[in-house]
Amino acid sequence: MLLSIRELTSGYGRVPVLRGVDLDVAEGEIVALLGVNGAGKTTTLRAVSGVLPTWSGSVSFDGATLGGRPPEARARLGLGHVPEGRGILSSLTVRQNLRLGATARGRGARDVAQDEERLLEVFDALRDKLAAPAGSLSGGQQQMLAVARALLGRPRLVMVDEMSFGLAPILVTQLLGLVARLRAESGTAFLLVEQNSAVLDIADRAYVLAGGAVHTSGPAHELADSENLVRAYLG
């Protein structure tokens, strides 16, 4: 397994949110993490990337235990995280934001320019905006920039928190298509936190979180077919 989460508990201050999450992502897999607001989806991603501490349980990535490592060290192991709200740095240009993603590769990163070019082929809408202030991008473009920026670090796994948030359905379909294409081209695994059931069209497997623990998991198409589940846990 690329990412393996066992009995993970975590929370904010003293308030527990996760009460024992078990989740796996295999190499090159697209996994959807679903659930209503407050189920613990964002908290799971934050605990995996080290923004929140692991209270108990374990998180291992590519065979290494992550507990106690700071977020920047986890990023350098190849763990990408596009946070809730996208994390676009509006004081920088689009290109500076993008290049910042290469930091995860460490010193002497090579082929950054080629990788950037390849990503711009996929996220074509960013090409004409490279010199613009990142804050001037539209919501959809900001989401593309956030994903492209994470990918420039050549991660093995990218966790994306609510890619579809605030975007028109047609943009969501387009972005999900791009994610499927990136996985096919580069073999990068994705863990997609969503409240939008459209994600099940591209995911291999899915987990449904409820009350800080996994409620259901299985192949994405099976969950998509379960109407009750979709109605109860997705809008």
Binding site: A75, G80, L89, R99, L100, T103, A104
Partner: protein, 286 residues
């Protein structure tokens, strides 16, 4: 009048440098650093001691002084600031005041309160269009310009971009692999060197006493505030404007009005433009 403007630009360059050092630290670590000037005062006294006591040449003593300035700032950041930064922002500000007091006491203890002068190879002056210009004045202005230009270039390098990123958002850059530790250390190291340059220039053009630090600290804060506390160019222009305004007021009103001018400038600018002359509007979540 021309003389007053040249002298004003010279003093203004010291204020600009101090403001640049403070803006650097504030941008990266979000701490208004009250110890900034003292972090330059101690190395300036060391440089004076190397030249006057150990008879080192200026060309050798100044690089050593700069290294001491860098080392002192890095040590203070690591031992006094970083351990409490995450805990309590107000405590960090108090800590910078404590560092100010401690360094000042050490300087007084070691070198006393007697005024010193750093001997430099830039003594003398020349005449342009009937006006006398000292080489020291040119040196101060050139050093200020060079540091500002250097910083603008630095902020375009990958490390500079990482510093700006951390200044804007403490979490997202770390998710991209940016080391906060490196960014903090670099910003304090650079600021320490720049503060040392300011105190050295002042110490060789006029006098070096244990009081220079507090004087430059206030002027640096005024200059940085005028510039909006986030802009490199703003801090620089703010310093020069303050220096010139002070000197003109000193010549045409009275010498005792100099300090009042600095504070008056703040009141006027902030009441008209609260974000400073070059500052951007910042929305802070509370």
């Amino acid at each position: 009048m021309w003389q007053q403007i040249i002298s004003g630009l010279q003093a203004g360059s010291w204020y600009s440098l101090m403001a640049l050092a403070m803006v650097l630290v504030l941008k990266a670590t979000d701490v208004p650093n009250f110890a900034m000037a003292e972090l330059g005062l101690f190395p300036a006294f060391c440089t004076w001691a190397l030249i006057d006591g150990a008879h080192l040449s200026w060309w050798l003593a100044v690089p050593i002084g700069l290294l001491i300035g860098v080392a002192l700032s890095v040590v203070v950041e690591r031992t006094a600031i970083r351990p409490i930064l995450a805990e309590n922002h107000f405590a960090t500000v108090l800590m910078t005041i404590a560092v100010f007091v401690v360094i000042n006491a050490v300087v007084q203890l070691v070198w006393g309160s007697e005024p010193r002068k750093i001997d430099s190879p830039f003594a003398g002056s020349f005449t342009v269009a009937g006006q006398v210009v000292a080489y020291e004045q040119l040196l101060s202005i050139a050093a200020g310009l060079a540091v500002m230009a250097g910083l603008i270039l630095f902020f375009r390098t990958p490390l500079g971009v990482r510093m700006q990123a951390i200044a804007e958002d403490r979490v997202t850059p770390r998710l991209l692999g940016v080391s906060v530790t490196t960014v903090f250390r670099t910003s304090w190291a650079l600021a320490g060197a720049i503060a040392t340059i300011a105190l050295l220039l002042q110490g060789q053009a006029s006098l070096l006493t244990d009081q220079n630090g507090s004087g430059l600290l206030i002027k640096g804060f005024v200059a940085a505030t005028l510039g909006g506390f986030s802009s490199i160019t703003g801090a620089f222009v703010g310093g020069l404007a303050l220096g010139v305004a002070e000197n003109l007021a000193g010549a045409y009103i009275s010498t005792s009005s100099k300090t009042a001018i600095a504070l008056l400038a703040i009141v006027v600018v902030l009441s008209i433009k609260p974000q400073g002359l070059f500052g951007r509007h910042q929305v802070r979540e509370v």
